[in-house]
Amino acid sequence: MSDNVEKYIKRETKESISNKISEKFVDAGLEKIRACINCGTCTGGCPSGRRTAYRTRVAIRKALTGDESVLRDIDIWLCSTCYYCYERCPRNIPVTDMIIKLRNIAVEEGFILDAHFGLADKIFYETGHGVPANGEGNKKWRDLRESYDLPPLPPTVHSYPEAVEECKTLMKEVGFRDLMDNAKELKEERAKEQEKEEEKADE
């Protein structure tokens, strides 16, 4: 037997179970999560799960048992919110709402994907548009609009650049800016810690 046999023996144990996630669910009026009987109807019918590693039931199960790794995993971002699970759940659990709530909590805790952060922080906040139509790369949208006799730019901040500031004020007021800043800070901290740990491991 090789000396390396140790690495094949998995000894994963979970840390103590916390109620943090399920408490947040209860606060948001989603205490129905407790009704889950793990029948797998949600996962079985999930069109996203057929193509990805996303397992609806597992995400809900982790949220319920307090396994916070669900916030770190990319899984919850793979849901396409098609509401199949919501329709079929025999316990009448609003499953899709639960996944969206999990995403909310994840962002609060600083678990946000770079692409999402970029979209939210840069494009949405800076331009007031989720899908911008200005700039060189988006000429096809302007052409499309013109082909229907519409003005090339919609009557949004694109047409009224002075309104961008108003949008920013609004987003600050509702706490969007703080949410993003907080997420960024937490994410950077975590990255630093990880670096340190890796250095230690190298030594």
């Binding site: 009987i37 793990n38 029948c39 797998g40 109807t41 949600c42 996962t43 079985g44 019918g45 799960g49 057929r50 397992r55 039931r57 597992v58 199949y84 079929r88 759940c89 025999p90 316990r91 009448n92």
Partner: protein, 796 residues
């Protein structure tokens, strides 16, 4: 009037907290009252003392200050009757469960409360009137509705006891669902071999009159005296002439009634074991060629037969109308209607049955070939909140396992998968059967609720999609045939029947029992009993057990010959009534009838809930012991001195909240002594005027506590009280009393702890409000209302 006040020490249970000497001191000079103290009133010695004292002091009414009347009330009632006083001239002060046991932290206040409680009882007993127990005769026969296994068993038990039975069955044969099964779980014995002889016995029994192809049209009357009208549908067969050879007429009939699972001719019997064995003609399929009439040498076919009305009188009714299986087309993702190879367990039963359309060969309906892969899907239509079927249907797991085993027995090479959420193999020997299915027959069990069933793109097979939740894996399994283990619903027409009989249903439509645990085979109406799957999903043994229980109830009633009617029912003063009919509308028991300009009370139907008495604007109706005056006297006794502040007058329903308060006592949960409970039979009997009266005399708060709406002893009593509560609140605001001073709560008999919590909270709220004063309350006008008001001014 000489009232005997008997105060019990109950060892130290009462006297350890309440100062009984102070009580004696207080009531010594109370008018018209003699006072007697004893250590244990309920002991042989104590009871003898009561009898002696009654005779010695010429006592004519009694107040017992002791434990809850629910414990020894009947004992004291019988005792005073032995001493020559009408047993209803007694009132109870509950100074143990609702005083000494819950206020042990403050003996001083407890004593004050005890004085109040005894005064209440004295004022109450003064106004009581003697009552006579009423009796009614019982017609010595029983109607059984439904001829499935439950109805058959009940009929046999009652008929064997020597009483007349009418068994009414809607279909052309008795036997119900059980007659359609091939084998039964867990023993795999032939279903019709067990049932067939019982069916014949019912037909031949001298005490049973069998009415098949008949339906109950109308039911009137009350316990012991029901008048039932039944419609017998035409079979177009003269039953006296027909000998049941059925193949002569059937074979000449040119019309095939096409049905995958129940094929027949236009004139035919449902199956050869049918009882009674007469064929019938289905009118909509018959073309009137009369070939059958020509073939029949007994001239037993009559095309002019008309529906026939039959009127009978019975003393009791057993409802055993059974079940209907869930229609899986309601779950669109299973595609039951789309693919013929998806069937229900009931349809599978027909394929397995020797008398079925395939003579017991299991084949795929799409191509007639035997299946090599069969999948069972459990919990179809059960445990599903989406379709309001939260309950477990209890038999589908076992039924599916049984069918899987039968398939394996027929061909051990067949692959059988059972997809389950949980396997609930309940019932005697059923778990062992389930284990055998795994071990001996190699049936595979996969923990997954199937999400979708679709047709395969590449073959004629079906694809089941789901998640194996033990492996965390998604699968798409192919199968030749899918069997949906469908759940159980109440039989078609249960709603209509329950309305005809005026009995209650549960939220799913099953018939409601009087008490889930201790009175499972009685309906909400006296004299009407329930048996089998119409009360809730059941397997065959449980249906039979309940049928025999219902039968024994019916026998007990019939053999006694008379029913004793509780005298605590509604009494009527003709002069006060102006025939407004409000009482008739609110009564759910058919106890009040208005014929012409006369109001008639049917004592046997009345349950004594008092909803009508609270409804009556002229106080023409009342329940003895709970009349307006009698409750009002208790309110006055409480508020006379106002011995505590805040003072809470509580109206507790006899069945739930009063029992809940007693439980708080026996569990020794302490709560503030500010509460003065008044027992009412149902919160629905509480006239809103009494709430206002309580405030008028100075109560600081009123608590109305009753059952949870779904467990109400009088079905809808608490809901009626809730409706009144809303109007009480509105009216309080108008009279400038803060409407927070009145509160309604549901407290069940098992919630002693909740009772204590409610009292604590309510007291806290009232303390903040302070003592009640006139015009205390100005309704706060919200800024929105203000702006609306202003806007209106502007308009002017």
């Amino acid at each position: 009037m000489n009232i005997g006040l008997f105060i019990c020490d109950c060892g130290k249970n009462i006297s350890g907290v309440i100062d009984n000497d102070k009580l004696v001191e207080h009531f010594k000079n109370y008018p018209e009252t003699s006072i007697i103290k004893d250590q244990y009133l309920c002991s042989e010695l104590g009871l003898n003392k009561i009898k002696e004292e009654i005779k010695e002091h010429k006592i004519d009414r009694v107040v017992v200050a002791a434990c809850s009347f629910k414990l020894h009330g009947d004992l004291f009632r019988k005792t005073i009757e032995q001493a020559g006083i009408n047993r209803f001239l007694i009132s109870f002060a509950n100074i143990r469960e609702q005083n000494s046991w819950v206020h042990s932290h403050n003996p001083n206040k407890a004593t004050k409360k005890a004085i109040d409680q005894i005064e209440m009882a004295i004022e109450h007993v003064k106004l009581l009137k003697p009552l006579e127990l009423q009796q009614a005769d019982v017609t010595p026969s029983t109607l059984i509705i439904g001829g499935g296994i439950a109805g058959i068993r009940a009929a046999k038990v009652i008929a064997d006891a020597g009483f007349q039975v009418y068994l009414v069955e809607r279909e052309t044969t008795i036997g119900g669902h059980m007659a359609l099964f091939d084998k039964t779980f867990p023993t795999l014995d032939c279903s019709i071999c067990v049932l067939g002889p019982m069916m014949t016995e019912v037909k031949d029994h001298p005490n049973i009159k069998l009415l098949t192809y008949s339906e109950v049209q109308k039911v009137e009357g009350f316990i012991g005296n029901f008048e039932v009208s039944i419609i017998k549908k035409p079979r177009f067969i003269v039953e006296d002439e027909c000998v049941g050879c059925f193949d002569i007429c059937r074979d000449v009939c040119p019309i095939d009634v096409e049905d995958t699972y129940y094929p027949r001719k236009a004139i035919d019997v449902p199956y050869p074991q049918a009882i009674p064995l007469y064929p019938n003609i289905i009118e909509e399929h018959c073309i009137g060629c009369k070939a059958c009439a020509k073939a029949c040498d007994r001239e037993a076919i009559d095309f002019d037969q008309k529906p026939e009305r039959i009127n009978i009188k019975v003393g009791s009714i057993v409802v055993a109308t059974g079940l209907k299986t869930f229609d899986p087309s309601r779950l669109a993702e299973l595609n039951y209607q789309k693919y013929s190879d998806i069937l229900t367990t009931m349809e599978m039963e027909r394929l397995l049955n020797n008398d079925g359309p395939t003579n017991g060969r299991v084949v795929r309906p799409s191509n007639g070939k035997p299946p090599m892969n069969v999948s069972f899907v459990l919990c179809v239509g059960s445990r599903n909140k989406k379709i309001n079927h939260e309950y477990c249907s209890q038999v589908c797991c076992n039924a599916a396992i049984k069918q899987a085993v039968l398939l394996k027995k027929e061909n051990p090479k067949t692959n059988v998968n059972i997809y389950y959420i949980d396997v609930r193999a309940v019932g005697k020997n059923c778990e062992e059967f389930y284990n055998r299915a795994r071990e001996d027959f190699g049936i595979r069990f996969i923990k997954s609720n199937i999400s979708e069933i679709v047709k395969s793109d590449t073959s004629d097979q079906l694809v089941l999609k789901g998640e194996d939740v033990i492996n965390d894996e998604l699968f798409e399994n192919t199968s030749d045939m899918v069997v949906l283990a469908v759940g159980i619903e109440p039989a078609v027409g249960t709603d209509e029947l329950s309305k005809k009989l005026n009995i209650s249903q549960d939220p799913y439509g099953f018939l409601l029992e009087k008490h889930l645990k201790v009175r499972p085979s009685e309906s909400s109406v006296n004299g009407i009993f329930i048996a089998g799957a119409v009360q809730g999903p059941k397997d065959i043994p449980s249906s039979i057990a309940q049928a025999e229980s219902a039968a024994s109830k019916a026998i007990a009633l019939t053999s006694k010959g008379k029913v004793e009617l509780d005298p605590h029912i509604v009494y009527y003063e003709k002069d006060k009534c102006d025939l407004c009919r409000l009482c008739e509308n609110i009564c759910i028991y058919n106890a009040i009838e208005i014929e012409g300009n006369k109001l008639k009370i049917i004592p046997a139907n009345c349950s004594g809930c008092g909803a009508c008495s609270a409804m009556c604007p002229n106080d023409a109706l009342s329940i003895p012991g709970f009349t307006q005056n009698q409750i009002s006297a208790q309110i006055k006794a409480i508020t006379r001195k106002k011995s505590e502040s805040p003072l809470i007058v509580a109206f507790l329903c006899n069945w739930c909240s009063y029992a809940g308060a007693d439980l708080a006592g026996t569990s020794k949960i302490t709560y503030p002594s500010n509460i003065r409970p008044i027992r009412v039979m149902c919160t629905a009997m509480l006239d809103p005027a009494l709430v206002f009266e309580a405030f008028f005399y100075g109560a600081d708060g009123v608590l109305i506590a009753g059952c949870y709406p779904q467990d109400c002893h009088y079905n809808k009593g608490f809901m009626k009280a809730e409706t009144r509560y809303k109007s009480i609140k509105e009216m309080l605001a108008q009279t400038r009393i803060n409407d927070d001073r009145v509160q309604i709560e549901s407290i069940s008999a098992g919630e002693g702890e909740k009772f204590a919590r409610v009292v604590k909270k309510f007291k806290g709220k009232l303390q903040k409000l302070g003592p009640i004063k006139p015009n205390e309350y100005q309704k706060q006008i919200t800024s929105q209302e203000e702006s609306i008001g202003k806007a209106r001014l502007d308009e002017i």
